[in-house]
Structure formats: C-alpha cells, structure tokens
Amino acid sequence: MRVVIAEDLFLLRDGLVHLLRAHGFEIVAAVESGPELLKALLDERPEVAVVDVRLPPTFTDEGLQAALAARRSIPGLPVLVLSQHVEQLYARELLADGTGGVGYLLKDRVFNAGQFVDAVRRVAGGGTAMDPDVIARLLASNARNEPLGRLTPREREVLELMAEGRSNAAIAQRLFLSESAVAKHTAAIFAKLDLAVSDDDNRRVLAVLAYLNGTRK
C-alpha cells in the first residue's frame, strides 16, 4: 500500500517509516514541510497519507491545511492526521466533506503499533479513525443531549468505540462480546438516537459523528 508521510521531527519520521515499512506499506514520500506535503499528495496520489498537524515553515496547522487542500482537489483522499493535541474543531473540519477516509489521532497512539497500523489500514479503506480523546470530549460537550442520556452504560461504550471508527467485529473483540450482541446494541443506539440504520460500517460511523457534532447547532 502506497503511503506519504509528513512529519518534521526526524526521529519520529524515521520511526513511522520503519514501522509502516515493517507492516508491508510502501513509503512513496516522507516529507517535512507543508508545501512539500501538498506537492507529494497531488503528484503521488498515495493510497493513504500520515500527516502531522504542525509543520514548517509556519509551525501552525500547515499539515492539516495541506491535507484539507489535497482532499479538495482529490475528494476522498485518505488522510490520517497526527497531533500532539486533539481538537474537536479540527476533527469537524476533517469530517466536514462527509466522504470519510479520515483519521485524527494523538501521536501517543503510535506507541501501540498494532492498533496504529490498523487505524492506517482503516482510513486507507475509506473508514474513519477518531482518537478516543476526541470522542470523549465530543460526548462531554453533548452532556445535555437527552437521547444520549437514555443510553445504557454498555450502549455508551459501544457508541464510543463506534464513533472512533471501529467495525462491529473490532468492538466485539474489545468489549468481549459476541458480534450479534454488538449488532443488537448498535440497533438500540440507532433507535434511541433516531438515526437511519445502515449496513455500511463507514457510513454508520459518519452518521454517528454527524449526529454528535450536529446536536450542538
């Protein structure tokens, strides 16, 4: 699978390259600044990009801006954004076009190589990978949302994992449940939140995220 990596710290960039290469990815470009990233994304058209938010030359949100710009030219271009901090604001911007194929994770998540590579694959496949931190804050800011308050604790756990972008199988494995139990919980959640049920995992995640974001308008 062809990957573009953008990260300005040499050690981290090198680490990412080794990690992804070891898991069978092909690194087509490893760049260290915003303009280089945009060029690499448009020229190489990778299957997935792993991008740090803060990049030279301005050290603001160059990486995020380059990723968003590239996605405007190539709709649905899968991008996994890494950052030292996560913000709902940036998550919203990434999700805004509603096409999926986006990820937004704390850099710490690289520690767990298995889960990180899994997230990269998910994003490459058009899925979503949201950091548990983002989801926790999203739910906290929805504290007064009544339908959410009616969820059972278990359903809430399922909802959190679903919002992170995980498939039913992954949720089942994580919560030590059977897949059919997860499916039942999912159906209950969608009924309580009054959302249209969809068989497609990716579309389901996007619907949940849109719901959590949208209730605040």
Binding site: V53, T60, Q84, L89, R137, S141, A143
Partner: protein
C-alpha cells in the same frame, strides 16, 4: 469627553428654553455667591500665610474643592460634559513606629495630629489643581457671570426695548427676544466649557496618574508571571520529570531481566509505555494551560471556537477581526474569555452563551452574554479579580452588568490591540470625506475661486479654465464667491475632523 454636548432634542423648544433660563438663573446666582466664597477663601489664605494661622489653610482648600466639585457635577448634569476631578490621591495616614511614636523627618511626635496635618498640607499646597481651582473661583464671578447672564440680559433687554414702542427699538427688541431661546439652550454648555478649561485635569496631571498606574500594574504583571513560572516549574518537577526518572529506572530493570526472565521484562516495558503515555498527557495539559495549541496555530477566533465546542454549554461565537492581535494580547483575551465562559457555566446556571469578538478601531472588544440567573458581583468573585489583573497589563477593562434574574453581560475592552488601525472616532464616510476634502480643497479655493476673482477684478481678457468666467455676467461673482466658500468649508471641515481624531487618540492614551 464629548466635544459638543448633545442638546436633548426630544423636548419642545419652549421647554428647553425655559430650562435653559432656569439654569442660567441658577448659574448667575452661584457666580454671585462665588464672590463671597472667593472673598472668604482669600481671607483664609491671608490669615494662613500672613498671620501664620496655617491650620486654616486645609479648611479653605476644602471649601474651594467642594465648590469646584459642585461646579463639575453641574457641568455633567446640565450639559453632559464630564469633568474628571484633577486632584492627586490623598496621602496615606501616618503610621506609628514600633515604639508608638510618629516619626517625620528628624522630628518625632507623640500623636498623629501633626504629621497628619503636615501630610495634608503638603498634599494640598503642592497640587497645581489647588491653584487652578483658586483661579477659577476668582474668575467665575466675572467670566461665568457674563456667560450665564447673557440669555437673561437678552430677555430683559428685549422686553425693555419693546416697551419703548419706538419702531427701530421694537425691532431690535424682537430680534433680541428671537435670539434669546438659542442662547438660553446653549448657555449651560458654554458655562460648562468655561468650567472645564480650568477645572479639568491637565495633560500633565493625567500623565502623572498614568505613570503611577503603570508602575502598579507592571508590578502586578511581573508578580503574576513569576507565580506562573513557579507553578510550571513545580508541575514539571513533580510530573514529567519524576515520571521520566521512573521510566529510566524501569527500563534499567527491564534490561537486566531481559536475559533471565523475558516475560517479566516485557511486563516492565509495557509499564514504561503506560508511564510515557501518562507523562505525555500531563505535558499536554500543562501546555494547554500555558498557551493553548489552537491559539498558536489558528489565532483567537478559532481558539474560542474550539473552546466553545469543548464546553457543555451552547456557546455561539461571532468573530470580526482585521488580523491577529499581538500574541500577548491574544493570549490574555483568550484566557479572559475562557474564564468568563467557565464562570457562566459554574455560577450562573446558564444554558447558552454568546461570545462576540470584534474591534472598534484599534481596540479589541469582547462581549460575553449568558442566559443565567445573573447577580454576579465583581467584588466577590476572585475569578473576576483575576480577569481584571490579566487585563490590567494591556490597560484593558472589564465591565460587568449582571442584574439579579439575568442575563449577565460582560464586556471587555482592550485599547490598542491593533496599533495602526484607524481610530474609530470618525465613521467611515466621514474619514473618506475628509480625505477628499484634503486632496481637493485647493481646486475651488485657488484657481476656481481666488484666481478667477483676481482675473475678474482686474478685467483680464483671458478666461483660461476658470469656470466662473464662462458664466453669464450676473452669475460670475456669485460663482466665484461660492467656489471660495466651498474651498474654505472643505479646509475647515477637514481640519476640524483631524482635530477630533487627535483628541480621541490622546484620550485613548491617557
């Protein structure tokens, strides 16, 4: 300070005239009474300095100040011309030494009476405002009287002239009577302006105050910063640093175990990974407290939007800024907003909050409105005190309106957040008009006005490009005079406007 005090336009002219006459009458009475007060004050001064009865001096100054204070209050009440008191702050009362005696210079006193008097005497006699007050009191029976009496004299004179029944005098009397309301309505304002010339703080006094204020706020800011640095040092020392030491030690232990007991080593390494994740989380929170990353990356607007998204309240954010303010201002504004929003959630039971960030010329203005139950009191909330301290570094002010039952409106103004932005003393249309006037006034004034007039006067055969000379004969002079007045009016308008801007800028500084 308002340049031209707005005369209330809502009342009918007759009412305003009557009120003006009433005010004039009162001002005349006061001016006459000032004669007596001035005589008394002069006598007291003479006794103080001539006969050495210095203990009378504070009495006379107090009398003087109370009369001048009243004049200031009247100016504000009757013509909306506020005049700030110009006096230096009163000296602190003397404190006794450890032995209970009061020391002053080389003298020691048993009671505080003498040192207290000395301080007060010094404070009064060294303040230039005292002498300006004195000058006003002596001059008011002349200048103030003349100004205040004008409409009354016009009224009386008009009636007397009409009573003569001589046609010319009746006409003059009618003119006087007709002009009287105009004068009566403006008299309090004219009088207030006269009062202001002597009784307002001089630029020097204002700068004096400003310097004292800056000294105090600088100390506060340095203190606050030092405390902040100490907090960060403590957090790093007890948090990340300690964790890194633990990580190092655990790694060392794992290294020793790796040969003999790989399973235990793996467990230790897993622990190290957890510890490093925890220290990252801690560092992230610390960074957020020092300078939120979104603020650094996106600026005030998006940082507040991010704040709004994280809040459990419904926070509406509207931003209208010409560019990013200086980093320290931005950071102060952010923390102030975050504190205000947090307060709304914590104390007032609000459900929704509106944050409006905009600018008025070079000033940054933030308004935070919540729908809570109100009743916030800046004197009680330590949070609000903290906000004021943060703002003080930038001469910012917080205005809080929080009636019981809500809603609470907090308005924050930071002047000079955008240095170089045009001052908002003038609306945009007037600024444009001023520019046009400045660049074009010469055109009607010189060639089309004065030069054409000279050509016409000396009956030059040449008509050149002077518009007026192509007109029919009887329209030529009116055209020339019109052009001259147009040019003059443009110059006067532009100059007046620029003066208003200068004054507003000066007000903003002091």
């Amino acid at each position: 300070m308002t340049g031209a005090a707005p005369v209330p336009q809502t009342d009918p002219m007759i009412l305003r005239t009557l009120r003006g006459l009433g005010h004039s009458l009162a001002l005349v009475t006061l001016a006459v009474a000032d004669l007596a007060i001035a005589a008394l004050v002069v006598c007291l001064h003479a006794l103080s300095f001539g006969l050495g009865l210095v203990f009378l001096y504070p009495c006379s100054v107090r009398l003087l100040r109370s009369r001048c204070g009243q004049a200031r209050a009247l100016a504000e009440a009757w013509s909306e011309i506020p005049i700030a008191p110009p006096y230096r702050p009163a000296p602190p009362p003397p404190l006794p030494d450890r032995d209970g005696w009061y020391r002053e210079g080389s003298m020691r006193y048993r009671t505080s009476l003498v040192p207290r008097f000395n301080r007060e005497f010094d404070w009064m006699i060294r303040d230039p405002a005292t002498w300006r007050d004195f000058a006003w009191l002596v001059a008011n029976p002349v200048v103030g009287l003349a100004l205040a009496a004008a409409p009354l004299l016009m009224l009386g004179g008009g009636i007397v002239l009409i009573a003569t029944l001589a046609p010319l005098k009746v006409l003059a009397g009618l003119v006087l009577l007709a002009a009287m309301p105009w004068a009566a309505v403006r008299t309090p304002e004219m009088h207030a302006r006269w009062t202001r010339t002597l009784l307002r703080p001089t630029i020097r006094a204002r700068l004096d105050l400003q310097v004292k204020y800056l000294n105090r706020s600088r100390t506060e800011v340095v203190d606050a910063q030092a405390a902040e640095l100490r907090r960060i040092e403590r957090d790093l020392h007890d948090g990340a640093q300690a964790r890194l030491v633990a990580i190092g030690m655990t790694l060392g232990a794992a290294e020793e175990l790796v040969e003999s007991d790989p399973a235990a080593a793996r467990a230790l390494i897993a622990k190290v990974r957890e510890a490093s994740a925890a220290s990252l989380t801690e560092l992230r929170q610390l960074v957020r407290g020092i300078h939120p990353p979104v603020l650094a990356e996106r600026g005030l607007g998006d940082a507040v939007r991010a704040l709004a998204l994280d809040s459990s309240l419904d926070v509406m954010v509207a931003v209208d800024l010409p560019r990013r303010p200086e980093a320290p201002v931005e950071s102060a504004a952010y923390f102030v907003i975050s504190e205000l929003v947090a307060n709304a959630g914590r104390h007032s039971g609000a459900r929704s909050v509106t944050v409006d960030i905009s600018h008025r010329g070079p000033a940054l203005r933030v308004t935070v409105i919540d729908d809570g139950h109100g009743g916030a009191d800046p004197a009680r909330g330590s949070g609000l005190r903290g906000i004021e301290r943060r703002l003080a570094a930038f001469d910012g002010v917080l205005a809080l309106r929080s009636p019981v039952g809500g809603p609470t409106t907090a308005t924050v103004d930071i002047p000079r957040a955008f240095p170089g932005e045009p001052c908002s003393a003038l609306p945009v249309w007037r600024r444009r008009l001023v520019n046009i006037c400045w660049t074009l006034f010469w055109l009607p004034l010189f060639p089309q006005g004065l030069a054409a007039g000279a050509f016409k006067l000396f009956e030059m055969p040449e008509r050149s490009w002077f518009l007026a000379l192509y007109m029919p004969e009887r329209l030529q002079w009116p055209m020339i005079l019109g052009m001259i007045s147009l040019g003059a009016a443009m110059v006067v308008f532009a100059a007046q406007s620029l003066r208003a801007v200068k004054r507003a800028e000066l007000e903003a500084v002091t």
